[in-house]
């Protein structure tokens, strides 16, 4: 009976095994920047296929594949490159996942990150559609939560903190549990994220240059790529020089002075200069009347002349790999959950620098802008924001729930 069954099913069994072993064990490739190309084609009204093909070819030569990453050997950049990442760690983070007897883990990016951030780091991993906010697309080189100035790259410490601690209020987990004492897995992941970001930014900027210079592809693509690569790597190397220094005011530890500062902060929050209430709402519930999108969404929609809320108009954007546009929600400050860090210094930096890639602007500061806030006023605002959770809790205790406050705000 069994022999007969095996005899009958032998072809099916062999086919099943072959399909599994051969057919589905393909080598992954990095995906092209389809959405950015869509934007460029909309901007220039020209087909960018030739440029995209040339750039793809160059990127494989320079950066390799997800299984075998390479690092460009551009003249004069070896020292620059070694200051940004380690090739040994990069190789360890790449490829399929495995581990050895010494507990060294390989393929870390695919093990820990790619399910959300995608194999290319484009924020289009399999699970991306379900996450709010969407996973970060590393390729434009924009990072939201960092200690550096707006427009600068984050430091390695910034990335380490986010990966190690996770991001509350999002799907980004804390990877502290995988940090082994004897190795540097998280450092390897950081190297890989930087590698993907640099690769992606070179791709984008090269495509942009090619779209605006028809002769570039045929004559000087490599030279341009080298120039861009050098510039981008230098930005990463110099990121620690761009850290926004923070000094807490002397009154910060004094309870009575801090209480007075909170009241000053309340006025500043509602005022026209900081204009926090415009988006975050009067009570901080995030129920302002602004409807906007982050830069990752705008990149393929608004900048391509597509209205993100127009279901029909976004179809071509979705067809090239864009994720359904979702309006960005200003934070509900009453929750006391801060994605970019809950330390006073973190809040301070986000006020004075804004949040890159989002509509959150940097506040105008004195003395550069006489109408702006002084250092002391910014700290008063920090004190007020950090106190919002306490105020919300008190309101709840006295019967005024956050929901009713929010509802009244929306009604206004």
């Amino acid at each position: 009976m069994i022999a007969a069954f095996i005899h009958r099913a032998r072809f099916a069994l062999v086919a099943l095994l072959l399909a599994g072993i051969c057919g589905c064990n393909n080598q992954p490739d990095f995906e092209s920047a389809g959405v950015f190309r869509f934007r460029l084609e909309a901007e220039t009204d020209q087909d960018q296929a030739k440029a995209a093909e040339a750039v793809d070819k160059l990127l494989v030569e320079w950066f390799g594949t997800p299984d075998q990453p390479r690092w460009p050997t551009v003249a004069g950049t070896s020292e620059l490159s070694s200051s940004v990442l380690s090739m040994e760690r990069l190789t360890r983070a790449a490829g399929p996942q495995r581990s050895d007897r010494k507990d060294n883990h390989y393929g870390l990016y695919r093990e820990l990150c790619s399910n959300c951030h995608g194999i290319t780091g484009d924020g289009r991993g399999p699970a991306a559609m379900f996450l709010a906010p969407y996973p970060r697309d590393f390729r434009p080189g924009w990072f939201k939560y960092k200690s550096t100035k707006r427009g600068s790259k984050p430091t390695r410490e910034d990335l380490h903190r986010l990966i190690n601690n996770g991001i509350p209020g999002s799907s980004m987990p804390a990877f502290a549990a995988i940090e082994h004492e004897k190795n540097d897995d998280l450092e390897a992941v950081i190297d890989y994220v930087i590698y993907l970001s640099i690769r992606g930014q070179v791709e984008r900027e090269l495509l942009y240059e090619a779209a605006n210079d028809e002769e570039l592809v045929d004559k000087a693509l490599e030279d341009k790529a080298a120039e861009l690569f050098q510039d981008i790597v230098a930005q990463w190397r110099d990121s620690s020089e761009q850290v926004v220094s923070v000094t807490e005011p002397t009154w910060w530890a004094d309870a009575s002075e801090k209480a007075a500062a909170i009241e000053r902060g309340r006025t500043i929050y509602q005022g026209a200069v900081a204009a926090c209430a415009t988006c975050h709402g009067k009570s901080g519930g995030g129920h302002g009347l602004v409807r906007d999108y982050d830069d990752w969404t705008k990149d393929g929609t608004v900048r391509a002349g597509v209205e993100p809320s127009d279901r029909k108009a976004i179809k071509p954007y979705l067809a090239v790999g864009g994720l359904k546009p979702v309006p960005i929600s200003p934070r509900d400050l009453r929750l006391g959950v801060y994605r970019g860090g809950a330390e006073p210094a973190d809040i301070y930096r986000r006020i004075v620098q804004g949040i890159e890639g989002t509509p959150m602007p940097a506040v105008a500061l004195k003395p550069d802008n006489p109408q702006g806030l002084s250092e002391d006023e910014v700290w008063a605002l920090v004190a007020y924001i950090l106190n919002m959770k306490n105020e919300a809790n008190s309101a709840t205790d006295t019967g005024t729930t956050a929901t009713t406050v929010a509802a009244s705000e929306v009604a206004k």
Binding site: G20, I21, D103, A127, F130, G166, M172, A174
Partner: protein, 330 residues
């Protein structure tokens, strides 16, 4: 009813019985149950291997780092990395299951077991060998898809063990066949099939390639949710039908199945939360500060429990189908 229910196992356990509902030799019953009982922890451990991405913690097969599987130094195993501990442990436990399957075949012949049981014993052995080969192929070819097939084949083997154990154990209460509805058996079989399909969809999500498209993942999630509803419906119908059945051997597992499916839905929700979180701010301000701990203890336990409970659901619905089949005298 009582007369039938109180029939002693000695009465039912005559050797060489030809009726499929009769009990086998005591050793055969014991080994069949042992095989089933050891398969469930094996599935658990296999799930843990997947949860911790430890499938490639031992790069060779059938040996372990050049050693014979059984000769690998136990100190290096026990005190080694966690991934190695569970992957090598999974292989050792699988070997034990394979060894039990071999013993089962031998004992079936030694006790002169009826052809049905002998064939089932052979099928168990062939299946466990095939499953081992799939596990080996997963390692040697480093193929995630084979890992998925291996993950689905395990519960199928578990269900086969359950069928074998039920067939060996015999069934009490054959005199109640008259009140038995053939629809019950059909529903039990249908629930088993749907549960298995549900498990394969879950395996797609669990072993998804990082380069799979978000749309494919979205489709699989929706399919998984739909099938969860179908399985719950099937289990509820079975339990409702089972309530009219005086025989406890069917009534109880049918009620257990509903409980397991409900628990599984809760675990499914938990699995989603510990993998991808929820938009907490919209649901619960109190939980908005929750941060997923990647590969944290509880996170891993929830995910693995979800996978193992899926196998258990298949096993229980298979048991109901097999018992119903025996009761109906087919």
């Amino acid at each position: 009813v009582n007369t039938a229910a109180n029939t002693t196992s000695a009465d039912l356990g005559a050797k060489n019985a030809n009726c499929p509902s009769d009990q086998s030799h005591g050793w055969v019953v014991f080994i069949a149950r042992l095989l089933t009982a050891t398969t469930f922890p094996l599935i658990w451990l296999g799930g843990l291997v997947t949860t911790y991405d430890a499938g490639m913690a031992v790069p060779d097969w059938p040996g372990t780092y050049g050693y014979n599987l059984f000769a690998y130094p136990w100190q290096a195993w026990i005190y080694g990395p966690f991934d190695l501990l569970i992957e090598h442990g999974h292989r050792l436990l699988a070997s034990l299951v394979g060894f039990i399957a071999i013993c089962f075949v031998i004992v079936c012949y030694r006790t002169g077991e009826r052809p049905l049981i002998r064939n089932l014993a052979w099928l168990c052995l062939v299946t466990v060998i095939l499953q081992g080969a799939l596990g080996g192929a997963r390692v040697l070819f480093d193929a995630r898809t084979v890992a998925m097939i291996h993950g689905c084949f395990g519960p199928a083997f578990f269900a086969l063990c359950v069928v074998t154990a039920v067939a060996c154990s015999g069934i009490k209460g054959r005199s109640e066949v008259g009140v038995w509805s053939r629809w019950f058996v059909r529903f039990a079989v249908a629930t088993t099939v749907v549960s298995f399909l549900q498990l394969t969809i879950g395996a797609q999500l669990r072993h998804i390639h990082p380069w799979a498209s978000p749309k494919f993942f979205l489709m699989m999630v929706h399919l998984h949710l739909t099938f969860a509803g179908i399985v719950l419906l099937g289990a509820t119908i079975l339990a409702t039908m089972g309530r009219r059945e005086p025989n406890r051997t069917l009534r109880r597992p049918a009620a257990l199945l509903v409980g397991l499916v409900l628990m599984q839905i809760g675990l499914g929700l938990g699995t989603w939360i510990v993998n991808y979180a929820l938009p907490w701010e919209d649901l619960s301000p109190q939980l908005s500060a929750y941060i997923i701990s990647a590969k944290g203890y509880w996170e891993s336990m929830v995910v693995t429990m979800h996978q193992a409970t899926g196998s258990l659901i298949i096993a229980v619905s298979t048991m109901i189908a097999a018992r119903g089949w025996l009761l109906s005298g087919k």
